[in-house]
Structures are given as structure tokens and as C-alpha cells.
């Protein structure tokens, strides 16, 4: 029997160990196999296939699938080196934005920030400026806090209504968040056959890492694909949920309590968890917005007759973020004038010129914070303003090209 072995060589710049779903198809597009192949790992188990021509597709988040063909002969192995076809910069390929931390941010961390502008990601670099967008020099003001919500390039005033606010994660350094985000992005772009294939790899990683953001990413994937496995995660969700302020963990735990046989006690517990989640700010992942809304609605149905105004208030708030969120993003990114004021009109309405949102929030943000905002190149803010990058003198503003 002939077979096909798949291998992805380590990519320039790292990202070894990242599992990718690889699909093997016949020329008529019929799927022969879906395999998880780990970047930089030894060749995967050979896939027994009849002799013939095959096409192998590797899905990379935010990029078109990489396709390569291979001819498998009798009693031979066809080996594919996908690395040749992957972009050299894995960070760009994965469209990653790496977040800040609950601890004071070290200057070195800043170089790990990525901002998205006009559909492209740019890395903030203290020395060389924001790559391809605008230069940045001068002091930076860093304020400690947890719920960093915003990271946005400084756009000209005409573009203010299009500010994108990014919910930045809780973990220092960003490597775990990077892995979690990449993984979830990967899952979201895959069909569920491919997503299931990857789950085992992720599950093993989870047990090694004890990372809250990774746990949340796995939880959302299990919530869609495998209810049993999500229930198995509950002890971990509880343990890490007590240690970190990451609403996603509480949302997932509440979601499990609202599924299956729901005792009155479980419903009450779910309600308490949802309240805590709301108190901790926006979910880190866009999927969390959806699960939060769904859990709140179910809670409301199960608590029929009990007056709990916080549920209605929360649903209203979540809906506003739901409408403003960019659902193509993995991390919660939404459009608005202020982190607390998501734009209630979806961007495409503004784009086609039907109605333009007013710039009502700008004045509030300026009053609340620094007058230098108008001169700021990049603003990152939260419930409290977290980061403000300033340039020393005012220069002509330009939209990033």
C-alpha cells in the first residue's frame, strides 16, 4: 500500500509546535483525509492512500489556503514540505495582535504590540516606529490596570468614527496569548472536521501550559464541537477563573451550567458567574460576546418571573458590542468612539453613506483624559486609559496607506 507523509518544517522566526489542519483531497475535491500536522515536528503518521495524484491544503488563519500537489506511486511515500509555501513571517501570516498585561508593562513588551489598520497588521516598534504606518518616538505613559481594551493607531479626525478598539489579553509577554489566539483563529477558519482533528493537540498543550487564555480558546472550541469535553474542562475553568480576571472563563462555566439537566441551584450559580463575567469587562475572544448573550438569554428564560434588572441591562450592553464587533477577528475588536461606547451602527451602513455616526464620544474621552490625545499617535485605553503614546511635536497626520 502506498502512503503519503506530511511534514511542515520549522518556520523562520519560530512558531514550531503550532498544529495545523492539513486536508488531503483528490483532484475532484473529494476529501481523502484530514490530519493535524505540527509545525517543526517529525513527519506525521503516514496516511495510506491508493497510488494517484493528491492535493494537500494547509489552512492558515487570515491567509488563502496553501495548496500543493503530490504524486503517490505504488509502495512509495510522497512527502510534502509545506514550509516552502508558507509566508516567511509567521506573525503576519497569523494576523496576530498581542496584548498587554495586568502588571506594569515593560518597554520590551511594547514591541510585541500589533495594530491593525486598513486591513493590514503593523507592529509597533519603539526603535523603528510603527512599521509602515507612522513613526513613533518619545515617551510613553503606561498605567497599570487589567482591563486594557483599546489599541488603535492615530488616524486623522475624519477617520475617528472608525477607530477600532481591541480587547487586549491578560497574560504577560504574549506568547501564550499568541498561541491561544492563533489556535482559536485557526479553529474558526476551519470546518469542524478539521477543527476536531486539532483538538487533541490543543488539549495536550492545555495540560502543560495552564494558560487562562488558552483554556478559554479551547473552551469555546469544545463548546461548539464537543459538549462532553467542555464539561471535563469545568474544574480547570473554576480553578483558573478564581485566579485571574478573565470573563471568558466564567462565561464558559456558566454556559455548561445552563446546558443539560439544569437544577435551580445550577441556574442560580450560572447567574452569579455571568454577573462576575460582566464585572470583569468584555470577553477576550469575540466568540465570548456571542456566548455571553446566549447564556444571558437562557438564564432569563430559566429565571422566568424573577425580576433581575441586571440581565436586561447586560443584554442591552452586550448587544451593542455584538453589533459593533468585527466578527472576522479572534480577539474582541469593535468599532466605536470610546471603549464604553461601541458604535451602534454596523460599519457597512456608514461605508455606504447612509448614516454616519456622530463623534459624540471624542469630547468625553478628551475631557476624561489627556488633552494631548489629539496629538497622540496611538492610543490604547480601557476602563481606564492604559497606554498613550505621544509624539513630541505635532505633525501632519496621514492615513496609513
Amino acid at each position: 500500500m502506498s502512503s503519503l507523509s506530511l511534514r511542515i518544517a520549522p518556520l523562520p522566526g519560530g512558531v514550531s509546535g503550532f498544529p495545523m489542519a492539513v486536508r488531503v483531497r483528490r483532484p475532484d475535491l473529494e476529501v481523502v483525509a484530514v490530519e493535524a500536522v505540527v509545525v517543526g515536528a517529525e513527519p506525521s503518521m503516514p496516511i495510506p492512500v491508493p497510488p494517484g495524484e493528491y492535493f494537500v491544503e494547509a489552512a492558515i488563519p487570515g491567509r488563502p489556503a496553501v495548496t500543493t500537489s503530490v504524486r503517490v506511486d505504488e509502495d512509495a511515500e510522497g512527502v510534502i514540505d509545506l514550509a516552502r509555501r508558507l509566508p516567511a513571517d509567521p506573525g503576519r501570516a497569523l494576523s496576530i495582535a498581542v496584548g498587554a498585561s495586568p502588571e506594569p508593562i515593560r518597554p520590551s513588551t511594547l514591541t510585541r504590540f500589533w495594530v491593525r489598520s486598513n486591513g493590514a497588521w503593523h507592529r509597533l516598534d519603539r526603535r523603528s516606529g510603527v512599521e509602515g504606518v507612522v513613526g513613533w518616538q518619545g515617551p510613553c505613559l503606561v498605567q497599570q490596570g487589567f482591563r486594557f481594551t483599546v489599541l488603535s493607531p492615530s488616524w486623522p479626525e475624519s477617520a475617528w468614527p472608525d477607530l477600532k478598539w481591541l480587547r487586549v489579553g491578560a497574560e504577560v509577554g504574549g506568547s501564550r496569548l499568541l498561541a491561544s489566539q492563533a489556535m482559536l483563529a485557526h479553529m474558526r477558519h476551519l470546518d469542524h472536521t478539521a477543527a476536531r482533528v486539532l483538538l487533541e493537540h490543543v488539549y495536550q498543550t492545555l495540560h502543560r501550559e495552564h494558560s487562562p487564555s488558552l483554556l478559554a480558546a479551547v473552551g469555546y472550541t469544545f463548546a461548539r464541537t464537543d459538549s462532553w469535553r467542555l464539561r471535563e474542562l469545568v474544574p480547570e475553568l473554576q480553578k483558573l477563573g478564581r485566579m485571574v480576571r478573565l470573563p471568558d472563563l466564567k462565561i464558559l462555566e456558566a454556559w455548561t451550567l445552563l446546558q443539560g439537566k439544569r437544577s435551580p441551584m445550577a441556574i442560580l450559580e450560572a447567574g452569579a458567574l455571568l454577573r462576575r463575567a460582566i464585572g470583569e469587562g468584555l470577553p477576550l475572544y469575540t466568540e465570548g460576546l456571542d456566548y455571553l448573550a446566549r447564556a444571558l438569554r437562557l438564564y432569563r428564560v430559566f429565571r422566568e418571573g424573577e425580576a433581575e434588572p441586571w440581565v436586561a441591562t447586560s443584554l442591552r450592553r452586550v448587544e451593542a458590542y455584538n453589533l459593533a464587533a468585527d466578527w472576522s477577528e479572534t480577539l474582541t475588536v469593535f468599532t466605536g468612539l470610546h471603549p464604553d461606547r461601541p458604535r451602534t451602527l454596523p460599519p457597512w451602513l456608514a461605508e455606504v453613506g447612509k448614516r454616519k455616526p456622530r463623534r459624540a464620544g471624542l469630547a468625553d474621552l478628551m475631557r476624561a483624559r489627556v488633552e494631548a490625545l489629539r496629538d497622540g499617535l496611538v492610543v490604547a485605553a480601557a476602563d481606564v486609559l492604559a497606554l498613550l503614546f505621544q509624539r513630541p511635536q505635532r505633525a501632519k497626520r496621514q492615513l496609513p496607506s
Binding site: P64, T68, S69, D191, H192, T193, R294, V301, L315, E319
Partner: protein
């Protein structure tokens, strides 16, 4: 006495344990109480009392259910249709339909739920066309008497999103598809006091491993659906096309439309039309609420060719590039196009293709035989061009 469904297969018995497809179709085209109510509530002022598109869309979808729908794993077991047509509009339905009243919706949904729950291999298909609202992050669908009660809108409208979440682990059917052809406007504070309830309050089942479930909407949240008077909506027309095969893929030597391929196909239609943000197709939206193993919805026919749009990034390179296409393994000559500023629009057969781009300018690096997939129902592909 519970009403019988509009149509049921002669060989299907309600108490017989076998996998079947059960379809519930609801079309609301007549809202007699809406004009008076709309005068008092700004939130409803944009809603029309006559929706002839609902009638045409319902008929279009019902015709697909009765004629081409084919699923060997779960043949059609029952079809129930509720339709309220405006005065003077003849629905032309091949089966009898009851009025889409609030009580009718509750009863029809309850009975459909029971039928769907009889076997874990069942396929449950729910289709709604009519006015939709959003309130407290709930997607609300409306019945014919919507607006009748002066003080409360909730008796005649239902929270469909929560209904679907309750069906997730409350109905054993392994495949659940919900097609919602209705507006999804932003919430309005005027609707806040109205407590819209789900169609299903207390599921009788408790499924530990839910099947595949997804919702396809005609529009993104925050937007409104449109239609041409007397014609099926773009969403319903596309839905029927995709279910007939364009939303499928080759599997087990058959052309299958599944819970995995159909959502992806709907997304590809929206993506293909995204250049025109005002087009109806650009607003199509899909939510996969549970993605267990893919489940078969229908067996379709493989399309011969599909639309293909090829672009380059940066776009400037298009005006300088000589483009060529070749189908892998085909004996036909290359398809070619000279430099032009717009993307290359063509039709190609489903399968693997190779793409070449050669540039007169030294500024760009040529692309040599890049492999890519052309799949149904349409494909947009943008190749990145490296600069020298």
C-alpha cells in the same frame, strides 16, 4: 385535536422509529394590525403591512422541499406550512397551509419539535420569512397579529435565537437547520418593555451530545432585508440553489449538501458579493451554533462551472499583469487575459487550477503556476505579488 402537518410521506408513521426529514415553513406576508400600531411606535414605522415577498419566498422554498429535496439517510417525512398572504395575493402553494397566527406558530412548532425528536437521525429544517426585530440581543420573529395588543407586543412575536439554543440540547435530531429570512434591525428602547419569549419553553428531552446546528440569516445584525414585490427574496433564491447542489461538495462519490458545506457556501456567496456592500447577497450571515460531525441535509447535483474572480494584491499589479489559468489535468488550452485594472471575472469548472501572472514591469515578481482550488458555489482568489 392537533392539526396534521400540511404534507406527510405516505410511508411515514409517527410512531415508527426511522430517520426522516421534518420541515416547518412559516411565511408571514399579512400584518393587519401593524399600520395602526406603527403610528404609535416609531420603532415599527418602517414595517410594511403587506409583504408579497414572503408569499413568493414561502412558495419557492416549499416547492424545493416537495420536489428536489433528496436525502437517502433521512427522506422527507413531513412538511408543515403556515402562511398568511395579503388580500388579493394567491400563494399558489402545492400543499394546504394554515394561517401564521401566534397560536398557530406555537402549535406548529410544538408538533414539529415532537416529530423531530422521535429519532436521533432526524433532520430538522425550519424556515421563516416575515418581519424580524431585535430586542435585548434577541432575534425576534413575528406572527400575523403582531401589533394587535395595544400594550404588549410579546404575545405575537417570539425570541427565535433562544428557541434555537433550547433546541440544541433539547431535541435529539442530529441535524438542525434554521433559515431566517427577516430583518435584524438594531435594538430600540421602545421594544425593551416587551418580553418576547421563545417558541419552546421547556424541552422534553435532554441530549448529552448535541448534533450539528446552524442558523442562516438573510442579513447581518443591525441591517434590514429587502425584496422585490411579488418575488422570492435573494436569500431564499440562493438558499434553494445552494440546497440543490451549489452548496455541496463531493463526498463518498455523491454530491452532498451538509451542515459543513452549506454554511461555508453561504459565506462564500456573501464574500463574492462583498465588493458591492449594498447588494442583498453581501449581507448573508451564518452562525454555526453547534458543529458536531457534519450531517447530510440533501443530495444535490454537481454544478458544471462556477463564477471565479481573480485579483492581485497590490491591486495596481492587475493593470500590468498578463494573467493565465489552466485546469490541472485538463486538456484544454490556457485561459488568458491581458493587463486591466479590474479583477478577472470568469467561470471555471470545480477542481484544482494553476495561475500565472507575468508582469511587463520589473517592479513585480511573476507568479508561476500557483495552485488553488475552485469550489462551489463561487470563488474569489487574491494572489499576493511580491515587489522587487
Amino acid at each position: 385535536m392537533e392539526p396534521e402537518p400540511s404534507w406527510q410521506a405516505p410511508d411515514w408513521q409517527p410512531d415508527k422509529a426511522e430517520a426522516r426529514t421534518h420541515v416547518l415553513v412559516i411565511g408571514v406576508g399579512d400584518y393587519p394590525y401593524l399600520p395602526d400600531r406603527a403610528k404609535k411606535m416609531l420603532a415599527l414605522s418602517s414595517l410594511g403591512a403587506r409583504l408579497t415577498t414572503s408569499v413568493a419566498s414561502t412558495a419557492h422554498f416549499v416547492q424545493w422541499v416537495l420536489a428536489p429535496l433528496r436525502n437517502d439517510a433521512a427522506p422527507l417525512g413531513s412538511l408543515d406550512v403556515l402562511l398568511s398572504a395579503p388580500e388579493g395575493v394567491t400563494p399558489g402553494l402545492p400543499v394546504p397551509a394554515r394561517e401564521a397566527t401566534a397560536d398557530g406558530l406555537r402549535t406548529a412548532f410544538r408538533n414539529w419539535y415532537r416529530r423531530c425528536s422521535q429519532h436521533h437521525g432526524n433532520v430538522a429544517i425550519f424556515y421563516y420569512v416575515g418581519h424580524g426585530l431585535t430586542s435585548h440581543a434577541r432575534q425576534v420573529i413575528t406572527a400575523q397579529e403582531f401589533g394587535r395588543d395595544d400594550l404588549d407586543l410579546s404575545p405575537h412575536a417570539f425570541d427565535i435565537k433562544t428557541t434555537i439554543d433550547l433546541m440544541r440540547d433539547g431535541c435529539p435530531a442530529r441535524v438542525q437547520c434554521y433559515f431566517i429570512d427577516a430583518c435584524r434591525p438594531p435594538s430600540n428602547v421602545q421594544l425593551d418593555p416587551h418580553d418576547f419569549q421563545p417558541l419552546l419553553r421547556a424541552p422534553q428531552h435532554n441530549v448529552s451530545a448535541p448534533g450539528a446546528q446552524f442558523i442562516a440569516y438573510s442579513v447581518y445584525p443591525g441591517t434590514s432585508a429587502r425584496g422585490i414585490e411579488g418575488q422570492p427574496t435573494a436569500f431564499t433564491r440562493w438558499l434553494v440553489r445552494l440546497l440543490n447542489g451549489e452548496g455541496g461538495t463531493q463526498r463518498n462519490r455523491c454530491w452532498e449538501v451538509t451542515t459543513e458545506t452549506l454554511p461555508a457556501a453561504i459565506r462564500r456567496v456573501a464574500e463574492y458579493h462583498a465588493l458591492d456592500a449594498t447588494s442583498d447577497e453581501a449581507k448573508f450571515d451564518v452562525e454555526v451554533t453547534t458543529a458536531a460531525r457534519p450531517g447530510l441535509i440533501a443530495l444535490g447535483t454537481k454544478p458544471q462551472t462556477v463564477p471565479l474572480r481573480l485579483g492581485l494584491s497590490p491591486e495596481d499589479a492587475l493593470a500590468l499583469g498578463h494573467l493565465a489559468l489552466r485546469e490541472v489535468g485538463a486538456s484544454t488550452d490556457d485561459d488568458q487575459r491581458g493587463p486591466a485594472p479590474e479583477p478577472w471575472e470568469t467561470r471555471r469548472s470545480i477542481g484544482y487550477h494553476q495561475f500565472w501572472a507575468r508582469f511587463a514591469s520589473p517592479a513585480f515578481v511573476d507568479i508561476e503556476g500557483e495552485l488553488f482550488t475552485v469550489d462551489s458555489p463561487m470563488r474569489c482568489e487574491t494572489f499576493e505579488v511580491a515587489s522587487r
